[in-house]
């Protein structure tokens, strides 16, 4: 199994230099993306086969590369197999989408070589079985994605996004490097050796914090999120989908691998830290999303929200595992993994939708769009499915994973720790708020850009996207529905992962009648997505056919009513900023220090009135800006060293030598 996976990664790596040659050919991008599609499908099937095989022995391999005394170790176990499926399902969808979308690329030479390399990097992270290969693959993934972020480098905003991203990625890798340094103390870099070693409680605690910083900066946990909404939208849309839908999952994998697998039994305060970060991340992420006008930026912020939900599930799993309640830990962990899978599906779908809109109109600003449901009906339908799924509404898949998380929260009064007893209900409240905000956010996104009347000429002359892009979007939309109506299959497929990580599994689901899911016992809770879907579909069609047959089925077209004052000007519609104004007023006045400054002209003046909205990012101002100021100040001071005479440099070198010799002598 592992051999197939590694050969596929090797093919992806070989495709990277081929990308340079192909980028000048007319059909080059098509060939490259088709090759990527085949390889990622192979990897996805490999992972799925491993996950579904009931015996599933971990298969390992060692390659003679990397550190000379260590070699590069690779291992395919249940956790790797699951993430292999997630990564390559997203990768295959992105490649299929890019078969059509990639032909619009202005500078394919800046995208094609890096795209397969980026896929190879993500796959290697998931397969690595020693710290050195893991870190090298992690950094490779970061750098190739950085190259893709700055592929449209003539836009100064993208360059800034790339700069911030590079800084944060280096910070994250540094934190992970330190974490592995602490872990390797006395054990070495091989994951098997680390697993067998028993670090002290203090060392394990330090590792958890470092991993939370390292993986957290990659997934955008608040307050380490600042780079994500800049970098993810800057890349070409299929890469944005990969970064948001897939790369964040690779970082979740890193967190799970180290904290659940490599470290010994958890301590209760770990879960407290994770929950305290996860809950606010969920709420703040989507609240930020509600303040944005750029479609892709809204989606990037919503990624932060979903990662918050995943980390809340992981935090709950840690808490239950620490207290020995394995069977609830399995529920919380499965919920988190299910959300990882679901989010990869609908976030990729939504980014592809944004890409289709961008390709057809050249606009990312919602306030210049509108009415696309008439001109891009198929894209509009697929995006609608994505919006419903991500808003956690039944019968789609987002609801199932949130529902399972809520069920785990409802079991947490059994935890003995007082700190957790106070935090978990608050986190539950934050998740509920996040779910409501998410629905508001996607009503806004869909309502402003796809419904209503076009707000600009480009929106009025939009056209449907190509058939490959549509195929990718419809495949993902179908998977969203399928995962929502038969979630029991997925829960059962996740059983080996949950068994390996928390030592217990959720009850077997697929044998239950009508494919109901029952996380604990039927007397506690049950949900049947299939029946909900069937009931809604049946009663809706029954109502429609009954009314059409018995009452009336006539339709007349007329101008809009609008209380008797219809205005042909499309500016009369609610804008994206206007739509979120009530929410901004209720929640944003504290969190974003949001203010509205209305400026009225004097009574006789014909000047128009102006309304200025100020929304500040307090986290950026309080955390990032001071650090940037300090570094800027320090570099200004050190800068004089650059302009010394040769004598002074020689003196400096000499005194440095003396100091070093003194240090060595002591």
């Amino acid at each position: 199994m592992i051999a197939v996976a590694l050969w596929s990664v090797a093919v992806l790596l070989a495709l990277a230099p081929a990308g340079i040659a192909l980028s000048t050919r007319p059909r080059g991008s098509f060939v490259l993306y088709a090759a990527c599609l085949i390889v990622t499908m192979t990897l996805c099937v490999t992972g799925a086969l491993h996950l579904l095989d009931p015996a599933h022995p971990p298969s390992t391999a060692t390659l003679p590369v990397g550190l000379p005394w260590l070699g590069a170790h690779f291992r395919l176990d249940a956790l790797s197999a699951f993430f292999l499926v997630v990564v390559n399902l997203g990768g295959a969808a992105a490649s299929l989408f890019a078969l059509g979308y990639g032909s619009h690329e202005e500078s394919p030479g800046r995208v094609l070589p890096f795209y397969p390399a980026y896929l190879a990097g993500m796959n290697t992270v998931v397969l690595a079985n020693d710290a050195f290969s893991f870190l090298v693959a992690w950094e490779f993934m970061s750098l190739t994605s950085w190259a893709l972020v700055v592929s449209h480098h003539r836009d100064s905003e993208n360059v800034r996004a790339g700069y911030v991203y590079l800084l944060m990625a280096s910070f994250g890798t540094l934190a992970l490097l330190l974490a592995f340094g602490v872990l390797a103390n006395g054990a070495g870099y091989d994951f098997d050796a680390i697993r067998a070693a028993h670090p002290s409680a203090a060392a394990a605690g330090v590792v958890v914090i470092l991993v939370l910083l390292g993986a957290g900066s990659k997934v955008g946990l608040v307050p380490l999120h600042a780079w994500l909404p800049l970098a993810h939208p800057a890349a070409p849309s299929h890469v944005s989908g990969l970064m948001s839908g897939v790369m964040t999952k690779v970082a979740v994998y890193g967190f799970v691998r180290i904290v659940f697998d490599l470290l010994p039994e958890p301590v209760w305060w770990w879960s407290m830290v994770v929950l305290l970060v996860g809950g606010p991340t969920a709420t703040l992420g989507v609240l930020y999303a509600l303040m944005q006008r750029d479609i892709k930026r809204v989606l990037a912020y919503s990624t932060i929200e979903n990662i918050g939900i995943v980390f809340t599930g992981l935090g709950l799993a840690l808490a239950f595992k620490a207290e020995g309640l394995d069977w609830v830990a399995a529920l919380a962990f499965t919920a988190a993994m299910l959300h990882v899978f679901n989010h990869a599906l609908f976030k990729s779908l939504l980014f592809f939708g944004a890409g289709a809109v961008l390709g057809s109109t050249g606009e990312r600003d919602m306030e210049k769009l509108g009415g696309l449901i008439h001109r891009m009906p198929k894209t509009a339908f697929a995006v609608l499915v994505g919006c419903v799924a991500i808003s956690a509404l039944p019968p789609f898949n987002g609801f199932v994973s949130e529902w399972l998380t809520f069920q785990a929260i409802l079991l947490s009064p059994q935890l003995p720790s007082w700190g957790l007893k106070l935090i978990i209900p608050a986190v539950g409240g934050l998740l509920a708020l996040a779910a409501a905000f998410a629905a508001a956010c996607f009503v806004r996104l869909y309502g402003v850009s796809f419904l209503g009347r076009p707000r600009s000429d480009v929106a009025a002359s939009a056209h449907e996207t190509d058939r490959f892009s549509l195929a990718a979007m419809f495949a993902l939309a179908a998977l969203c529905l399928l995962a929502g109506i038969v979630p029991g299959l997925l829960i059962d497929a996740l059983a080996p992962v949950s068994h390996a990580m928390v030592g217990n599994v959720m009850p077997h689901q697929t044998g239950l009648e009508w494919l109901t899911i029952v996380p604990i016992a039927e007397s506690r809770s049950s949900y049947n997505g299939l029946l909900v879907f069937l009931f809604v579909a049946l009663s809706g069609t029954a109502a429609a056919s009954a009314i059409h047959r018995l009452a009336s089925d006539r339709v007349r077209r007329a101008p809009a009513w609008d209380c008797g004052f219809p205005d042909p000007n499309p500016a009369i519609q609610y804008s994206a900023s206007g739509f979120s104004q009530p929410i901004r007023r209720v929640f944003g006045s504290v969190i974003f220090a949001a203010r509205e400054i209305g400026e009225m002209p004097p009574p006789s003046s014909p000047r128009p009135a102006r309304l200025t909205v100020v929304v500040r990012d307090l986290i950026w101002e309080a955390l990032y800006a001071p650090i940037a100021t300090v570094i800027g100040w320090a570099t200004e001071r050190i800068n004089v060293l650059q302009f010394l005479t040769i004598r002074r440099y020689l003196t400096l070198v000499f005194s440095a030598l003396i100091v070093l010799l003194v240090v060595v002598a002591l």
């Binding site: 009415g371 449901i373 009906p377 609608l384 419903v388 956690a392 509404l393 039944p394 529902w403 409802l410 947490s412 009064p413 059994q414 007893k421 106070l422 209900p425 608050a426 539950g428 409240g429 509920a432 779910a435 409501a436 905000f437 629905a439 508001a440 009503v443 869909y446 309502g447 402003v448 419904l451 209503g452 109901t516 039927e522 007397s523 506690r524 809770s525 049950s526 949900y527 049947n528 029946l531 909900v532 579909a537 009663s539 809706g540 109502a543 009314i547 009336s552 007349r556 077209r557 809009a560 009513w561 609008d562 209380c563 519609q573 609610y574 206007g578 979120s580 104004q581 009530p582 209720v586």
Partner: protein, 318 residues
């Protein structure tokens, strides 16, 4: 034989909520009118309105999309399914395990999601104002009701409504502070969700602060009839929910004989009457709030529900 009986009971429940919903609305309107010393429309007027609307042509705005025409059916189907899953005269019906309380709330959330989209579809200012305010209200009402569900579920040890009703009807409950807080929170949320005074005014059109009516302004004919029927079903659902959780007496388990079920149905009608009367009384004795006072009102519900949940956690849950 039992399978057929279970099936029939579930069907009876679906039909019952569908048939009773307009009656409840008519009753509330009648009582409100009588409290204002008006005579008011007859009790059956909502049925007549529905039939008349269904027979009329649909007048559709020129740029209304296919989504605009599908949404009334989606809203109706979602609300109807949700309403048929809340126990009324009997608990533990055939499909009661299809969706628990959280899923029922989420189904209503789906209906609201689509309704808000419908407000944005034609591209008018009124539709936008309605949708924008509706989602603002929902961002407070939804967490509040979820926290209420949490506290109730932790007391009953289940989110499954049939089991909750059974537990609440038993002696094991006693008088609990958290239940009281959850009750008040649920009432506030129910008022907001059903667009009742003081949050919204169901009787008027053309008022600057209107929310629900603004969203559905462009609907006519059979579409409007379905939208109206959905909101009537939603009111019935919330009344049934409050009755089922806080006054569960009389809701018979499905296995018992027909006379107990008939008794349950009679008692259910009694509960509807009492709640309808109280709602009308409350609405006539209070003024509508301006729109930015609503967050305070709903925020109180959210805080109460959160406190109730916290209390359950601290006192050991289960």
């Amino acid at each position: 034989m039992t399978a057929l009986r279970d099936f029939l009971l579930q069907g009876a429940q679906m039909l019952l909520v569908l048939l009773l919903a307009p009656l409840l609305t008519g009753f509330v309107r009648k009582v409100k009118a009588r409290l204002l010393r008006r005579r008011g429309p007859p009790l059956l007027q909502p049925y007549r309105d529905l039939v008349r609307l269904m027979r009329k042509d649909v007048v559709l705005a020129h740029n209304a999309s296919w989504l605009f025409r599908v949404i009334p059916y989606l809203m109706f189907a979602g609300t109807w399914v949700a309403a048929s899953l809340v126990p009324t005269f009997g608990s533990g019906l055939l499909f009661s395990w299809t969706a628990d309380l959280i899923a029922i709330i989420a189904l209503l959330g789906s209906a609201r999601f689509f309704q808000a989209l419908a407000g944005m579809d034609v591209g008018t200012a009124f539709g936008g104002i309605g949708s924008s305010r509706e989602v603002m209200i929902a961002t407070l009402a939804e967490p509040a009701i979820l926290m209420t569900v949490f506290s109730v579920a932790m007391i009953a040890g289940s989110t499954q409504l049939s089991y909750v009703a059974e537990f609440m009807g038993s002696d094991a409950v006693g008088l609990r502070v958290s239940l009281g807080m959850a009750f008040v929170a649920l009432i506030i949320v129910a008022l907001a969700e059903n667009a009742r005074i003081p949050v919204d005014n169901p009787a008027t059109h053309l008022e600057l602060t209107m929310v629900h009516e603004a969203m559905v302004l462009e609907y006519s004919g059979r579409h409007l009839a379905l939208v109206d029927l959905s909101s009537q079903l939603k009111l019935l659902l919330y009344v049934s929910l409050i009755a089922c959780v806080f006054l569960p007496w009389g809701a018979a388990p499905a296995e018992v004989g027909p006379e107990r079920l008939a008794f349950g149905a009679l008692l259910y009608l009694g509960k509807l009457t009492v709640f309808g009367f109280l709602l009308a009384l409350f609405e006539t004795s209070i003024a509508k709030m301006r729109v930015f006072r609503i967050p305070d009102f709903l925020g109180a519900a959210l805080m109460l529900a959160l406190l109730a949940t916290l209390l359950r956690f601290v006192s050991g849950g289960m």
